[in-house]
Amino acid sequence: MHWPTIENYAGDWYNKGVLILDPFLNFSFINYPSFWVILLVFFIAVFYLGRFWQSRESRLQLLIDEANLKTQQIQELEKVNRELEVKNRELYSKELGLTLANKKLQTLEEAKSKFISVTTHQLRTPLAAIKWTLDMTAKGQLGPVNDDQKKFLLQGLTSTNRVISIVNDLLKVDSIDADQADYNFAPTDLVKLISNLIFEFNSQAALKKINFVFLKPQTAVPLVEIDADKIRMVVENLINNAVKYTPENGQVTVKISDEQLNRAEGSLVVSVTDSGIGIPASETDKIFHKFFRASNAIKAEPDGSGLGLFIARDIIEKHGGAIWFENQSGSGPQGTVFSFTLPLHQKKV
């Protein structure tokens, strides 16, 4: 058996000074080519194993990232959910608030109706008692009274009547809350309605020697679709004001005019002209305001609610008409003209 020695195996490599490890150090296997092949395979294996490891790690990292993302998304969703819940709760509380507000309004409405019935009954009952007592006493129906006493009693009666008319006005304001839908529109003979009112005011006007005139068109006036009770209230108020604020021997004219009848939206115009105290120029823009009374009107007639014209405008506007006034110009007595229009037909709302 011949074992290769370092000398005869390496041959001349040995002599050329190539490193050859001493076989006695037992590293002689490096001289076998198969060793290098194995080493190469080993390194390749290590390399690939490393890469495999790395890719496994990165895949794991990816999974972790993904999981993190999911968690984040879930958290965000949860946040959105919570926000939604808050919004929902807010909405619910708002809805609850609205329901409560609605209930409150209903209660207020009921309270108002109750207030009205209480006002009507509670105020009018004692007022009627005072009125009747003063009236009967002044007329001597409860025993004889002298002229002085009678004068005082009648003054008391006048004051009582003023309070009653203010209470009545306050109750009319309530009718303002009525929607147009609550109005009873029906074809009405306006000439007849106003004629009746003129008849009622005749004695009052005659007492002040007022020349009280009713002018109407020559031709027949067509029926007009109105709530007769409400329009009556308006005309009554205008005539009442005219007579009240016109001095003795004055002039009050009520006129129905059909000059706007042939326009596209045919309407009648009603005007009430007086030769009264007029309305101060500085106060003209407030005359239809609630509770407003012109300074000269207060001086002439201390009591009054300041509601008549306010109510009148509301009623006319709910009929689709307009109401306005003009101060009479010129050197003569001042006076005022109140006019309003009434369309012949009501538009369905």
């Binding site: 009507t120 008692a129 007592t133 009545n168 109750l171």
Partner: protein, 126 residues
């Protein structure tokens, strides 16, 4: 009213003072006045007394005026008796309701004197 039997008038009114003033005024006018202080006593009294005219308040303790009016008009014996509603209500709905139930007239107390009331009665009884 000289030789004829005095006309009988029933006042249904819960307010004592108004009731007595009204009764006094109508008595001086020669009417025979009876009074009821609430709806039930009015319903008890009307078929017995058969008044010629009834003055009816609407807001009454217990049975209210509308109910009384309904019963008067439902009873053959009493339905011809004219009823004047004399109340301090006076909103349109009240007036309409009273008219629909058969009231002859509707007067708001505070808006009339008792002289007006006497005139009204004479007009109705004519």
């Amino acid at each position: 009213m000289d030789n004829t039997e005095p006309k009988k008038i029933l006042i249904v009114e819960d307010d004592e003072f108004l009731r007595s003033l009204n009764a006094k005024r109508l008595e001086t006018e020669g009417f025979k006045v009876s009074v009821a202080v609430d709806g039930q006593s009015a319903l008890d009294l009307i078929p017995k007394e058969l008044p010629d005219l009834i003055f009816l308040d609407l807001l009454l303790p217990g049975v209210d005026g509308f109910e009384v009016l309904k019963k008067i008009k439902a009873d053959e014996k009493t339905k011809a008796i004219p009823v004047i509603v004399f109340s301090n209500l006076g909103q349109k709905e009240d007036i309409e309701k009273a008219h629909n139930l058969g009231a002859q007239d509707f007067l708001v107390k505070a808006n009339f004197t008792l002289d007006d009331v006497v005139l009204k009665i004479k007009e109705v009884l004519k």
